[in-house]
Symmetry: C2
Subunit: 331 residues, 2 copies
């Protein structure tokens, strides 16, 4: 049984995963905000302790950046960990067991390839469109790490070089700068989108008291990419426009990736991927407009198949299917 | 000794390559224009026959597209070959010898990695900027083929999605549509470039009688990317502008490729790469503007080191260093 761990800026999850990829049990905890390194570690340790007895190996997905395969992590959304030796700390807690750690977006791609919508694909990009836009690249049936473990950063493929929005990476016109949930909802609000979760009393309670104006919405937890996707699916015209904007950017980036890597499949997970046709329609249109080489015609773009436990499944696969997904000599 | 063959739209080359990559002897012939399949084959056969006796294997680089690894070729610039079974024909001529064939741009990338500017790089893109813009991708020290042998098509990464020029592939805004020699010289002529090879009497003879206007220049063999590069190096302001345009497009595409594949090196060969600072300056500027992720900082972009025999060296490497560059089960 593999102890799988998924560390993100909002939550931490841990679970036991069987050799066939089934998640036997799992637990979750909120990631302490503004916490120091040891507080964060304590939260994680408390989460995994009840699962430790049956662990025969430890697989971890964590937000990047990180050094890889050493696993010193500095997750963008967890300021308390900067160069935190997560792999080494876990190795100390589980003496004699292999501990393997990779980028969380890469773990999601691995999960889709191993157990989800990517099964049987030889050359795929597994994407996640959420607070950020990330991915993992599987070519010739094996995970591509790149020189520093950072291959798959589709979010920083350039899709709008002239006057594109500033990106968190310091560049501009990156896919992520346009299609990440917060950027897209902010754009939708400027276009006049009124989130249904705020305007409809039944769901407003979840988001807290509704107040006026975009700034107020932006602090509202109902104003998420997922909410925008739901509104688009329900036909809200401004949400549909926002999905068109995201879909077009995704289609351009995927066309570039397909030409460069000769892919047969792209899977898209994360909140935005729930939008269905309002997202995937414009995505396909931009993709077919730009991916014109004959070999790119076979490419399929599909929603990710696995749910919220995908991160655990992918982390476990670093050990359970390590021949395909773990090429480092380090355990 | 490997019989290496390099088939392009303008010329065919063949040579004998020693195990250490040295080209022992080589021959060239003009590719017959508007010729049928058998005439083309006859030209190639005549070229290789004097070299055949010492061949222990045959490596071929050929313009794409092609089916790979089967090696039925349909080079864009050789209309007489459409689905021509080049690999099978060569196998028939050399019974018992292994015959391996790949895209010519991929062979150039292999050559740079094996013997040129890419030696020691684990994760590189070898590019050629010439009549077209192509490339080959080497990740983790091994050639990436992609599902159909077409990985490395950096020329069709999108760099100008809005209103970018129409590309030969049917798309628009591709790197190749902007930076390929003919597109760039045509653009330079519209900007008022007067090719030095035409304006200076000493070299005009090579290009034939100079006549008036861009249309005449375009038919002039002196009006090439190489001539444009030379003029830019000599300080011609319009040629410098054209190099800036190409360099910027290259920098954007390379930034995208670096983020997606976590590269440490890009080599650039072909006529345009002779431009030096007028090309590489704007390229670096656009690259550093867009490639902002920490892991992308280590990327170096350098001119290719090998000359006109690089294609033969890369074709030979399909056999001489096949562990890294030939992953198909087909010989």
């Amino acid at each position: 049984m593999i102890l799988a761990i998924d560390v993100g800026g909002t939550k931490m999850a841990a679970g036991l995963v069987a050799p066939d990829g089934a998640v036997i049990t799992s637990r979750r905890a909120a990631t302490p905000q503004n916490a120091d390194a040891e507080t964060l570690w304590h939260t994680l340790a408390t989460l995994i302790d009840p699962l430790s007895a049956r662990a025969e190996g430890v697989g971890v997905g964590c937000g990047g950046p990180m050094t890889w395969p050493d696993g010193e992590v500095s997750p963008l959304n967890i300021p308390g960990w900067r160069g935190f030796p997560l792999r080494a700390r876990l190795a100390g807690r589980f003496p004699g067991l292999p501990v393997r750690l990779h980028n969380d977006a890469i773990c999601l791609a691995i999960a889709e390839h191993w157990q989800g919508a990517g099964q049987g694909s030889a050359d795929m990009l597994g994407m996640v469109v959420s607070t950020g836009v990330g991915g993992g690249l599987i070519l010739g049936g094996r995970l591509v790490n790149g020189g520093t473990g950072n291959a798959g950063h589709i979010g920083h493929v350039v899709v709008e070089p002239d006057g594109g929005p500033r990106c968190g990476c310091g560049g501009h016109g990156c896919l992520e700068a346009i299609a990440r949930g917060p950027a897209l909802t902010a754009w939708a609000l400027t276009q006049g989108w009124t989130p249904a979760a705020v305007s409809e009393p039944m769901e407003a309670s979840e988001g807290g008291e509704a107040s006026e104006g975009p700034a107020a919405y932006l602090e509202d937890r109902a104003v998420t990419g997922r909410a925008l996707a739901a509104d688009a699916l329900a036909g809200d015209p401004m949400a549909v426009l926002a999905m068109r904007r995201a879909g077009r950017a995704l289609g351009i980036a995927i066309a570039s990736a397909t030409h460069l890597c000769d892919l047969d499949l792209v899977t898209i997970g994360g909140g935005l991927s729930q939008a269905g046709e309002p997202l995937f329609g414009p995505l396909e249109e931009a993709l077919r407009d730009h991916a014109r080489m004959g070999f790119a015609r076979r490419l399929k773009v599909v929603p990710a198949a696995l749910g919220q436990e995908a991160g655990l499944v992918g982390a476990a696969a670093l050990l359970l299917a390590g021949g395909a997904y773990w090429t480092s000599s380090r355990d």
